[in-house]
Symmetry: C2
Subunit: 82 residues, 2 copies
Amino acid sequence: MSALAHPARRQILLTLHFRGGEATAGEIAERFEHAWPTTTRHLHVLAEAGLLQQEKRGRTRVYTLDRKRLALITEWLAWFDR
Amino acid sequence: MSALAHPARRQILLTLHFRGGEATAGEIAERFEHAWPTTTRHLHVLAEAGLLQQEKRGRTRVYTLDRKRLALITEWLAWFDR
DNA sequence: ATAAAATTTAGCAGATCGGCTAAATAACAC
DNA sequence: GTGTTATTTAGCCGATCTGCTAAATTTTAT
């Protein structure tokens, strides 16, 4: 859950969502003012948390949103509705 | 959202929930192996994030869970269901 | 007035975070 | 094979996090 702690990372997730769940590292990075390596690191944190999957496609890398993983968080929050 | 990043803080929220949304600092702290001041700090972080309210009652302090604030997070996550 | 109980505040120390630049890697184009 | 494009890796550095102990604060009890 600490993967969601940083605004840039939440923005990455939303960006991916509204692009149909997939985007290349470049497409994502260009939306931020951060230097590329900074975004690369955020992507890595998200992938480490299982929220993103990485796929090497030619010389680009495509990141895919894992909505199931996000759903786990929603489920955790649902404890408070009982 | 970074207030939820630490496991101890999530545990505090659940503890409060299952006690009806209210508990004293002591009741919460005794559930953790952490030193008291450590738990005090976690409580403060949660209060700062608006997830808890603090009320001085005699020589104890009662913390109350703010479920509305938690609901905001659920709402954010709901973006991914569209 | 003094002591005990409940809790916070202060402040130190090591770990992690998050930005950066510079250099490395991998795939494609000529 | 040389260069260009896309992206990551390495590593520095200041800021924030999280644990601790010791001391302060506030209320209740004697």
